[in-house]
């Protein structure tokens, strides 16, 4: 009896093991029961992730690069903020990138990344981001992962409904959140209503070079233009902006901007406006804004001040501007992959309002208007509305799509992601987030072709998710597997700064194009030394230019004499390595800027103003070889009155 019991229980154990085995190997996953979360996010040592994710850094001013599903951070790309790690914004070459009409601005609030598209699908050439505070748009190369261009937006303030790109990357669209006097002038704040304007900017993108050009600005009524998205497919050529503060209040906004039951989604037929401008329409207005461009071959940024912008009065372009009434101060304004549905997330409501593009066109054609605002027709709510998602959640913010007919919306107040079906507006699933989720991202989730495998929820509040690190904590993010019917929370990871939005794409779209080195024979930097025999030191008054080269593991030259107190010493350093991932660093005692991190084949410049007599060392800051510790040199600094001749050497040369 005992023995047969033993055999029986052994058999049960064996069959359980079998089951365990089969479940563990079921990769397709039908939700939480089918396979373990750990297995889904585990990327084994030496293996690589399936997706890139670009998370905005919010108040860090920069963009961070992560892998999905591992949640590993690969890089922080400096965009609007100085970055001592690489010398961005400190080196002479990159200082011009942060120039604006307000002078040198070493910081911004980076909100919304968007990857370039062709035919509505991600093409992986560039990623565009907005600076919210001192309105700017930046273009980052997805080949070098460096900021290549920053354009300031005049007449804008709180550049928030940005940087969203049209489906062939014709335009980057940047709308103002704060209405302001246009042009800026000295006037009483309480005369806002009817006088302030909301500038929506259309920045064209050169299809080859990616170069940005502020083509025109539409001067809309002084509402707050919160978020936006382009039409796609049938609605390509239109752009949709959510608005709040249609009350045009100028104080105690949290009360006074929430009086109207409905605000608007502004629908703009930009193709019509473009045609109007191309035919000479619009008004040239004097202004002042910076356009900063980084050249990959000279490794140098230049800043140009532009003095004019074409502005468009929306009442002058017929059939191009309409308002769609949308309840409760809509925040997110998202367009489904087909381009038919425009989703307004009324952030003070429990519901989502979905407008139909087809119904909108019909209402326009049959002039089903419900009045006008500053000459712009308001369409009848009932005539454009396609449906309402009764979610039962609170505080809907943003929606993305999985390409399989489903949408995923974040609910800030009720801390959850809600999955619902496009068309039936039925809620399918809901999962909590930890805590107070802002935006979410599905790779390609705001394009015609989403890759609906994972959704990343970016939270505003972290609290107990990680070991405490004092009052300030990094924001948490959660990854959900959305390949099955039900969402499955599979991972939780901290992010950097405050991600307001993200963009993702399959790894293979970028990985093979990612640049490994800068070719030395393509280096056109005016102070480059492409051959160590050209290394030298030149004096021009109190300016000293040191043309220096580096390779594992020495600087050429490494002994310099004849520098004097009061000199402005420019170290122009060219890295002669031509091998992947062998940067050299440069720092010198008393450097008032930051180190330089110089990529193979690149030239960078650091300004050093020695204030004390002595012999001062410099060294390589990036561990480069077994002889890295020996990668060092000396500069002799003599009194200002000294007659010591400039000299330089390496070894006994």
């Amino acid at each position: 009896m005992k023995k047969s019991n033993y055999i029986f229980s052994s058999l049960i154990a064996v069959s359980l093991l079998f089951m365990g085995c089969q479940q563990g190997s079921d990769k397709s996953g039908n939700g939480a029961l089918a396979s373990s979360a750990a297995e889904k996010v585990y990327v084994a040592p030496g293996e690589q992730d399936e997706f890139y994710a670009f998370l905005s850094g919010g108040y860090s001013g920069n963009l961070t690069v992560y892998g999905l599903p591992s949640g590993r951070m690969f890089k922080e790309i400096p965009v609007f903020s100085q970055f001592p790690t690489s010398g961005y914004g400190y080196s002479e070459e990159t200082k011009p990138m942060l120039n604006t009409s307000h002078g040198f601005i070493p910081w911004d609030d980076l909100h919304h990344p968007d990857i370039s598209q062709t035919n509505g699908e991600l093409d992986g050439r560039w990623i565009f981001v907005n600076g919210n505070n001192t309105p700017r748009i930046a273009r980052v190369s997805l080949k070098t992962f460096e900021t290549e261009e920053i354009i300031e937006i005049p007449n804008s303030a709180g550049n928030h409904s940005s940087a969203f790109i049209t489906e062939n990357t014709e335009y980057v669209i940047a709308g103002t959140r704060f209405a302001v006097p246009v042009p800026q002038r000295d006037m009483p704040i309480n005369e806002y209503k009817g006088n302030f304007k909301g500038a929506l900017s259309f920045i064209s993108v050169d299809p080859e070079s990616g170069r940005l050009n502020l083509k025109f600005q539409v001067l809309m009524p002084g509402f707050n233009y919160d978020l936006s998205h382009p039409g796609r497919g049938a609605s390509h050529g239109w752009h949709f902006f959510s608005t709040y503060n249609t009350e045009e209040a100028n104080s105690l906004m949290e009360v006074n901007s929430s009086q109207n039951d409905k605000d608007f989604i502004a629908a703009i037929n930009w193709k019509k406006v473009e045609e109007y401008v191309n035919n000479g329409g619009g008004t040239k207005m004097a202004t002042n804004y910076a356009h900063n461009v980084y050249d990959e071959h000279t490794h140098t940024g230049t800043s140009t001040m532009k003095k004019e912008v074409v502005t468009v009065d929306p009442t002058k372009v017929p059939d191009a501007f309409f308002f769609l009434p949308t309840p409760k101060s809509p925040h997110g304004c998202d367009v489904d992959p087909t381009g038919e549905y425009i989703i307004g997330a009324g952030k003070l409501s429990a519901d989502l309002t979905i407008h139909s593009f087809t119904k909108m066109l019909d209402a326009i054609e049959n002039k089903k208007f419900d009045g006008e605002a500053y000459g712009i027709p308001i369409l009848k709510y009932e005539d454009v509305m396609a449906g309402v998602v009764k979610s039962g959640g609170l505080g809907p913010l943003h929606t993305e799509f999985d390409g399989k007919g489903n949408a995923y919306t974040t609910f800030f107040i009720s801390s959850e992601v809600v999955k619902w079906e496009v068309g039936s507006w039925e809620v399918i699933d809901r999962k909590p987030t930890y805590y107070s989720v802002g935006h979410l991202m599905i790779p390609g989730g705001n394009s015609r072709k989403p890759f609906g495998k994972y959704v990343v929820a970016m939270n505003k509040i972290t609290k107990d998710r990680y070991l405490p690190t004092g009052p300030e904590m990094e924001h948490s993010a959660q990854i959900y597997d959305i390949s099955g019917d039900k969402m499955q929370l599979i991972y939780d990871f901290p992010t950097h700064g405050e991600p307001h939005y993200a963009a993702g794409c399959p790894a293979e779209l970028l990985a093979s194009n990612s640049q490994k080195i800068y070719r030395l024979d393509e280096n056109k930097h005016p102070y480059a030394v492409t051959d160590p025999s050209e290394a030298r030191v030149e004096r021009n008054g109190n300016e000293v230019h040191i043309y220096m080269s580096t390779i594992r593991s020495h600087f050429t030259p490494d002994n310099i004499e004849g520098i004097k107190v009061g000199d402005k010493v420019y170290f122009h350093i060219t890295n002669h390595e031509q091998d992947f991932d062998v940067p050299h660093g440069f720092s010198i005692i008393g450097q008032n800027t930051s180190e330089l991190l110089i990529m193979p084949g690149q030239t960078k410049t650091s300004l050093w103003e020695p204030k004390q007599v002595g012999v001062w060392p410099f060294y390589c800051t990036d561990f480069c070889s077994a002889l890295h510790q020996e990668m060092q040199g000396y500069v002799r600094v003599s009194p200002a009155s000294s007659n010591i001749e400039l000299s330089w050497s390496l070894g006994e040369d």
Partner: protein, 170 residues
């Protein structure tokens, strides 16, 4: 009965093993910057060792090194155009460490054709890391030159070939 239990235990163990070993790939590849390189577990060292003579003075003309270049017959005549190009490439990419008139960070290329085979030189330029891992002479040179590893300057075959032709003129 004991027998049955034993069998069950073995069965058990077999299942456990098959479970535990799931998805594990045993490959011998090292990933470097996304490209895959095959590295033998125990590198077969090429070249004969003679520890008494410093590596820089050894004559290893029969050693072709390790790498893509297996056989490279040279024309008796030096191609001047190639040598001129090679001198330029050498100046930009190599002179930070190699001087023609003296030992510097690395050895001087002067006289190298009398000490090393054309294949060895090519392999050393094209993939110094692999050479240092698997070629005895390259490894000894690294030690002799204070551990200053030769940089991979991402030369193409043709560029390296031009440099080699330039070395023949020294």
């Amino acid at each position: 009965m004991k027998h049955t239990i034993k069998l069950l235990m073995i069965f058990f163990a077999a299942i456990l093993i098959s479970c535990g070993g799931k998805e594990e790939k045993k490959d011998d590849q090292i990933k470097l910057g996304g490209t895959k390189k095959e590295v033998k577990k125990e590198p077969a060292e090429s070249g004969s060792a003679s520890d008494d003579v410093p590596a820089s003075e050894r004559i290893t003309l029969d050693n072709k090194g390790v790498g893509e270049v297996k056989d490279l017959p040279l024309n008796p005549e030096i191609d001047q155009a190639m040598a001129t190009r090679g001198a330029e490439i050498f100046k930009t990419n190599c002179t930070a460490c190699h001087k023609t008139d003296k030992r510097f960070i690395g050895p001087s290329p002067k006289g190298i054709m009398e000490r090393r085979s054309p294949e060895w030189i090519m392999n050393m330029i094209l993939d110094p890391q692999l050479m240092v891992e698997q070629d005895r002479c390259a490894k000894d040179l690294l030690v002799e030159f204070n551990g200053a590893a030769m940089a991979n300057q991402n030369m193409t075959f043709d560029q390296a070939r031009d440099i080699l032709e330039y070395f023949r003129t020294l």
